[in-house]
Amino acid sequence: MSESNWEPKIVAIVCNWCTYTGADLAGTSRMKYQPNVRIIKLPCTGRIDPVFILKAFERGADGVLVSGCHPGDCHYNAGNFHARRRWMLFRDLLDFVGIEPERLQFSWVSASEGRKWVDVINGVTDAVRARGPFTGYQAINKEFVAHE
């Protein structure tokens, strides 16, 4: 893809019970959003290992979205609380390393919030597009290779 028509690649790691179902609802209601996102379904945001997020960036994602049930409504009681704690730390770490905060975003989307899903995806896609392609990983790799 040439520079002029570069489109951001967004990876969304979501929970099955709330966000995935909310995204289904957006589909059933025929709401439209930008086609840049690829969804990975997990049973619960509690399953999300921060390494998944890094892997996504490593494999070419320009932005990552993590989304689950609202606090208090987790299908498995507390999975989203664990997830939230993990990513508060992880977010600070990535920020420190220089990954712009717009590239990694979090949201709570419930099964009845089709509209919200559409707004979140469009918002993340636009924000990442404004930032441009994510080259951070490749840049680090190149440096290491140059040293060897």
Binding site: D24, R30, C44, G46, G60, Y76, G79
Partner: protein
């Protein structure tokens, strides 16, 4: 590896926006894919046969179906696989409809996305393992939460089918709001006359365990295997000894507490039975107003009780019940027009006085006034001076259909019960005048429209289309200022009494209870069904069902029908001895587990146990974590927490997910 990819057009649904033929062609080139087919309707019989035949003829080791959401047809395709001898968990679904064709318009972009999604699914399925379903026993006992008409109906249905029911009711008596009604529409049946036989049936039923004055405290476990902790609140009366003679109630010197049953229109003593037909007919002491509990003095009830059934030391008790299915029938409350300063969602109606005018009452209060066993023995008398009101104004839609001050929804029953109230009033006060201010008339049930027409044509109730802007007292009457929109004029009525049809809203503790049960709820606090059209009594938590007004405003026939529906769902569950559970549970690699038990700390289901590994001589080698597959719900929090990556969630292992991410390209 031999993977088969099957792309569905879903008629036009996917085919219009995704070039399925192109997707099939692209996927045929993916490493490991030996069969790539597109077809109009994969879920149909011929469609499924394509997959089944391919499995058999090509010896497929994995199948990807690119179609609608897995929530729709994952089970269908997994069954097709298992029918052909392929483990059902070697089948993955790529969502090309809800997540692609229905939400995008650009065909090339949607087609590219579809190919990505299929590729991700292919890489994942290559790493899927064969999993066998876990079988757990089913406890064939039901829990019904709430003893109103819906709860009573559900309990009787399940009990009559031969299974035990535990019925928990938070008030001292069952019966709910229906027991407060005077007559029911459209037949004008006496409410208690049709309800109390059912209440007695529940009380006497050999298979119904009634826990009144009790609340659900904690729910653990899962479908077929719930463990419910119930708090039996202290009545201060020993139920087994009490005969219901009522002497204590008669002799209690504290007589001035407002009666909840009479909606504040009458008083009751500190020790009381809520109403004469209460079930169980045993009193309870309100410790907040009882002299003994406040000052240590009195104790008359204990002295006069011939059975020594009063126990001031009684404490709340906790009981645990093993339950297979839970039916939630916790009902509703009425919107209060008074202002609640701490609750910004309830703004109150200042133009109607914020609840400070004694003769501006709500629907349940009118029911008590009209009721033969009510504070005025069925004579219509207004609360302030007990005079018979000669002009009564009824106002519909107070709090309902009101985005500014109340709730947006329609409460469904108010048009009917207002017509009923106006008719009852006219039947009792022949020279009285009844006015109804309405926006619309919603009388959609059987015999409902005819009922409202009776009120207008036979009983002379005057219906005015318009809203009321103010009510204020003046010289013993209430000036009701409204608008008659059909005549195009303002109208002022000097009423003796005003009855407001206030909105039906969720119970005050609905949200808290929902979190205890694990039931989702909407913005209004009503409990959320899985699908409003096709699955109205189920919730997303398996094994829990809904009945009655806790789900949304409804009338008695609907509540009863829904209760029987919920009961039938429970009975379906009890129809088999064993339940098959999804095998996507966690598993520990005992070789690498270091026994830190972080996984145990984060498990919400106490599914992780300590296991000792011993050598042949019986010496302890190490302790490791071990997952109880019967309890594990498959959330995967342990997997993400484990520092040595020794516990993995089958079906969602790190390897599988990394493969999915890598396949993005």
């Amino acid at each position: 590896m031999k993977i088969g990819v099957y792309i569905c057009y879903c008629g036009e649904n996917i085919g219009r926006t995704v070039d399925c033929a192109a997707v099939a062609k692209a996927c045929a080139e993916l490493p490991g894919v030996v069969d790539s087919v597109d077809y109009k309707y994969m879920c149909s019989d011929p469609g499924q046969n394509i997959i089944k035949n391919a499995i058999r003829e090509k010896g497929l080791q994995g199948v990807v179906v690119a179609s609608c959401s897995p929530h729709m047809h994952e089970k269908t395709f997994r069954r097709a696989c298992s029918d052909s001898g392929l483990n059902p968990f070697l089948c993955e679904i790529a969502n090309l409809r809800e997540h692609c064709s229905w939400v995008h318009e650009d065909v090339p972009a949607a087609t590219r996305k579809a190919i990505d999604l299929v590729r991700m699914a292919v890489e994942k399925v290559k790493r899927n393992g064969e999993l066998e379903p876990i079988r757990v026993p089913v406890t064939k006992r039901a829990l019904v939460v709430g003893g109103g008409i819906a709860g009573i109906q559900a309990a009787l249905d399940v009990a009559n089918a031969g299974f035990e029911v535990v019925l928990v009711e938070k008030e001292p008596s069952i019966g709910g709001h229906m027991s407060q009604l005077s007559e029911t529409f459209p037949t004008l049946d006496c409410s208690q006359c049709i309800l109390t036989p059912r209440m007695v049936e529940v009380y006497q039923h050999p298979r119904i365990k009634l826990l009144s004055y009790s609340e659900v405290e904690k729910v653990e476990g899962f479908i077929g295997n719930f463990k419910v902790t119930i708090r039996r609140k202290a009545r201060s009366v020993i139920e087994e000894r009490c005969t219901g003679c009522g002497l204590c109630v008669q002799k209690c010197p504290t007589k001035k507490a407002p009666s909840e049953f009479e909606q504040g229109l009458a008083k009751r003593p500190a020790i009381y039975v809520p109403f004469p037909q209460a079930v169980p007919n045993k009193p309870v002491i309100d410790r907040n107003v009882c002299t003994h509990f406040r000052t240590g003095k009195c104790g008359i009830c204990k002295k006069v009780c011939g059975r020594d059934a009063i126990d001031f030391e009684q404490q709340d008790q906790f009981v645990t019940e093993d339950i297979g299915a839970i039916i939630v029938a916790t009902g509703y409350q009425l919107y209060s027009i008074s202002k609640k300063p701490d609750d910004s969602a309830i703004k109150g109606y200042g133009e109607y006085g914020y609840g400070k005018y004694p003769d501006v009452i709500d629907g349940l209060q009118f029911e008590r006034i009209a009721s033969a066993s009510g504070p005025s023995s069925g004579e219509i008398r207004r609360p302030s001076d007990q005079k018979e009101p000669k002009k009564v104004v009824f106002i519909q839609c107070v709090g309902s259909r009101d985005e500014a001050k109340g709730f947006t929804y329609c409460s469904k029953i108010c048009c009917m019960y207002t017509a009923k109230h106006a008719m009852l009033y006219k039947h009792k006060v022949h020279d009285g005048e009844a006015y109804v201010f309405y926006m619309d008339i919603r009388a959609g049930g059987k015999m409902y429209e005819e009922f409202v027409r009776r009120a207008i044509e036979e009983d002379g109730v005057k219906y005015i289309r318009g809203r009321v802007s103010r009510i204020y007292p003046s010289g013993g009457k209430y000036i009701v200022k409204g608008e008659d929109t059909l005549a195009g004029e303002p109208i002022e009525i000097d009423a003796d009494m005003v009855v407001l049809a206030t909105a039906m809203i969720a119970q005050p503790n609905a949200q808290k209870l929902a979190q205890v049960l694990g039931v989702p709820y909407d913005g209004y606090g009503f409990y959320q069904e899985v699908h409003p059209k096709l699955r109205p009594v189920e919730v997303s938590t398996a094994g829990i069902f809904l009945a009655g007004a806790c789900q949304s405003p409804k009338d008695i026939p609907e509540a009863v029908a829904m209760a029987s529906a919920a009961a039938s769902k429970a009975l379906v569950l009890f129809g088999s001895d064993q339940l098959e559970r999804e095998p996507t549970v966690a598993k520990v690699n005992e070789a690498t587990c270091i026994g830190c038990f972080y996984c145990q700390k984060v498990c919400a289901y106490n599914a992780i146990e300590v296991k000792e590994i011993r050598d042949r001589k019986g010496n302890l080698v190490k302790t490791v974590a071990s997952v109880n597959p019967g309890l594990c719900q498959g959330c995967g929090t342990c997997n993400a927490t484990c520092p040595s990556k020794s516990i993995e969630l089958l079906g969602y292992t790190d390897e599988q997910i990394f493969a999915e991410i890598t396949a993005l390209g």
